[in-house]
């Protein structure tokens, strides 16, 4: 190869390289953008983990209809088809007033209970221009048990049917696949059976999610009731299940030792244990309806 052809080669190579470099430089120049706030989203597939509220809220203008079942316990054996002959149901609806404020109503067949809640997300996990390590929400619920009075002859008060729950939900999406939350909880019962039982029951709940595929996640939640508040025989609730998402539906299939699907029952009325097969198979079906459509620019 002559020296001259070597220059030509060098020349062509260098100018070619420069040209490509310039296109890349243009893209790189675009990269020098001002930092934006990047919020974490989809930490959980829906606003419930299993029985517990997740840190997610319902988006503004969206109605989320939830139909939930808990069958009887597995240890009832083949005669009751491992619990499938019995079912406890909750039908409810949650609505997003804003992206941070959710309200909901429901009715459970367990103790014929009506419930309502307000949930406000006051911190959103974010990175970039504004760094916030956690998402935090406050939940307030009221439940009204509407069963016939056990002693209709004595003087009964409507307030005796009421239960209140306050919960702080603190959580973080650690990675695309792993989210964890902790919820200090207090349940207030207006009426308790014996003087030995506390009106205010304190508990700490924890819940986590592992995303297995784009559309399937594994969830678990545990509620620890602080000691000496309930009578012996009451247990902590442990639930494990899967979320399966298909477009507008989320199907949650799970196993739990809690019959109730709302906080007062979950925290103060769980009697079954995993150890002896006192496990309910159950599911929640969530279907979202867009009431107020998002605007396109």
């Amino acid at each position: 190869m002559s020296k001259f052809s070597l220059f030509l080669l060098l020349f062509t190579l260098s100018s070619g390289a420069v040209l490509y470099a310039q296109e890349d430089d243009l893209l790189a120049l675009l990269g020098e953008e001002e930092e934006t706030i990047e919020y974490a989203n989809a930490s959980f597939k829906t606003n419930r983990v299993i029985n517990l509220h997740s840190l997610e809220s319902t988006s503004a203008g969206v109605l989320d209809i939830k139909i939930s079942h808990r069958f009887g316990t597995l240890n009832r054996g083949a005669y009751e088809l491992f619990g499938l002959d019995n079912a406890s149901i909750r039908i409810g609806g949650d609505y997003g007033i804003t992206d941070q404020l959710t309200v909901g109503l429901g009715r459970s067949s367990y103790q014929k209970t009506f419930d309502g809640f307000v949930k406000y997300k006051f911190l959103r996990q974010s990175k970039g221009k504004k760094v916030m390590p956690v998402t935090a929400a406050i939940l307030a619920t009221t439940a009204i048990q509407s069963m016939k009075w056990q002693n209709p002859d004595r003087e009964n008060y409507f307030s005796s049917r009421m239960y209140y729950t306050f919960q702080l939900i603190l959580g973080r999406k650690f990675s695309e696949n792993f989210s964890l939350q902790v919820s200090p909880t207090v349940v207030h019962r207006n009426l308790v059976k014996t003087a030995a039982e506390a009106h205010d029951v304190y508990a700490i709940a924890a819940a986590g999610r592992i995303k297995l595929t784009k559309r399937v996640a594994l969830n678990a939640e545990y509620t620890y009731v602080l000691p000496d508040q309930l009578l012996p025989g009451f247990r902590n609730a442990l639930s494990v299940g899967f979320d399966i998402e298909t477009g507008g539906h989320v199907f949650q299939l799970h196993f739990t030792n809690s019959t109730s699907m709302i906080e007062p029952g979950l925290v103060t009325q769980t009697v079954e244990t995993w150890g002896n097969g006192g496990i309910h198979f159950g599911f929640n079906v969530s279907r979202v309806f867009t009431v107020v459509r998002p605007k396109i620019q």
Binding site: L10, E23, G248, T290, P294
Partner: protein, 183 residues
């Protein structure tokens, strides 16, 4: 040998063109439409960024996927980012390359050109030639380009259950006004 290096250096210097004329997007939008038998999905972003080097005739565009708004429900938008575009992993869609036609940006007029370059969507680069209209005048360049993106070409898979709801070919419309870049 000295002579060789001199020539090579001249080559490098010429290639660099120190006083490049850069125009940048002042106002730009990207709109897309998925027109499937059972559902029409539309969304748009006004966070389009872009640069044109009028001397080199090179260009680059970029849009953050998470900036798209619209859709038929907020959940659909979450799914768009989480399941289809995987926006955390592939935050931007980009298109960069060179304009094939040797047009003179100093003369006002309407030019139809072919923009040849790499379209990067969902982390998959495809070489594309996109027909664009450039309106040059009043110190600005207005760009209009309509094209389609095949989801399969960018490894975006559609589950069977939503086949009737998401089009395989997505129509995209770009509108942008470029002004001289201020240093």
């Amino acid at each position: 040998m000295n002579f060789t290096w001199t020539i090579a250096l001249i080559g490098l210097t010429f290639g660099q063109l120190p006083d490049a004329k850069l125009y940048e997007v002042n106002e730009g939008s990207v709109y897309f439409r998925s027109y499937a038998p059972l559902e029409l999905i539309e969304a748009s972003s006004t966070e389009l960024k872009g640069l044109i080097n009028t001397e080199e005739r090179t260009f680059a565009f970029s849009v953050p996927m998470s900036s798209f708004e619209g859709f038929n429900s907020p959940l659909q938008r979450v799914h768009f980012n989480e399941n289809y575009m995987e926006s955390k992993q592939y935050p931007n869609a980009t298109f960069s390359g060179k304009i094939i036609e040797n047009i003179d940006f100093t003369k006002d007029g309407l030019y139809t050109v072919r923009a040849k370059g790499q379209l990067n969507v969902h982390g998959i680069k495809r070489e594309r030639i996109i027909r664009s209209e450039l309106q040059v005048g009043e110190g600005q360049i207005e760009v209009r380009a309509d094209f389609t993106v095949l989801l399969a070409e960018h490894d975006i898979s559609i589950p069977k259950i939503v086949h009737q709801k998401i089009a395989e070919e997505i129509a995209v419309e770009i509108r942008a006004v470029f002004l001289p870049k201020t240093p």
